[in-house]
Amino acid sequence: MVKRWLLWLPLCAFGVVIAVIAWGLYQPADRTVRSAMVGKPLPDFALAPLLPGKPGLTSADFRQGKPRLLNVFASWCVPCIAEAPQLMTLKAAGVPIDAIAIKDTAPAVTGFLRANGDPYARIGSDVHSRVQLALGSSGVPETFVIDGRGVIVAQHVGDIRADDVPGLLQALADAR
């Protein structure tokens, strides 16, 4: 009697495998790579300025007691154009924003800022993505919320949409 029942076991096991696969297939895939650095202090870095009259960026700039946004962007990045108005909104709300320009040149960034607005207090030039890799950032644009002691408290992957702005403002307020 037990043997007969056992006969069905492989089929049941097969059914379970199929169910798991089907569930996995219909689950919307989330390919976002999030930084494992959230909750940790910013890695030490010192990036040279890119534009005349605009200071470069060091990790010490984020330890001045006030939360700041760190925007990883590039003039050659299309979604960076899409998020530019939201960054201007944040700037208008009094949020200090610093930037790391990835693999970029002064003329290209100057043109980009002229066309899309300039929300940045400082811009550091990361020609070989070194600081980007140290931050655990996997693309442009990405935005990190840094508290006043230089600790990364949140990360936004991809362009900032209009409905992401309140969340970022909240994260900045929480970091105070």
């Binding site: 930084s35 050659w76 990835i102 040149t105 070989h128 993505s129 996997s138």
Partner: protein, 135 residues
């Protein structure tokens, strides 16, 4: 008007949305290290690291800008005397286990590591039963 809008939207879709970095890749992105032993170690590590842009490829296989910079980073650190394991741990500390194609045994991967063993044991048990019956 509507048709013009539709066709211009269609044209927009056809435009290649290309993101081209403004600066050339790091020298070590495409140049092997001078020391063959070091290059071999670096290469072996690159093959186990995931390109974060083109997520199905290793950084050794990918032509993405970021993969190039990751290769340069690996080569530079190996040439500076770091062990491959340290370089990998440095990247895992930043991107999580996802960056490695060689996942460590952990809470999330325990099934991955134990399932083959369990299946092998089950297979052996089944085979044993079959062989015994035949005798």
């Amino acid at each position: 008007m509507k048709r013009a809008l539709a066709s211009s939207l269609l044209l927009l879709l056809l435009l290649p949305v290309q993101a081209i970095a403004q600066t050339p890749p790091a020298a070590l992105a495409y140049t092997p290290l001078r020391d063959p032993a070091e290059e071999r170690a670096a290469r072996q590590l690159m093959e186990t690291l995931r390109c974060l842009v083109c997520q199905g490829q290793s950084i050794a296989d990918s032509d993405a800008d970021m993969a190039g910079e990751m290769r340069a980073l690996v080569r530079q650190r190996i040439a500076a005397g770091e062990r491959p394991r340290d370089v990998r741990d440095w990247l895992i500390a930043r991107y999580g286990d996802y960056v490695s194609y060689d996942p460590p045994l952990g809470r999330a991967t325990v099934a991955l590591w134990l399932a083959p063993l369990l299946l092998l044991l089950a297979g052996a048990w089944l085979a044993r039963g079959t062989f015994r019956r035949r005798r």
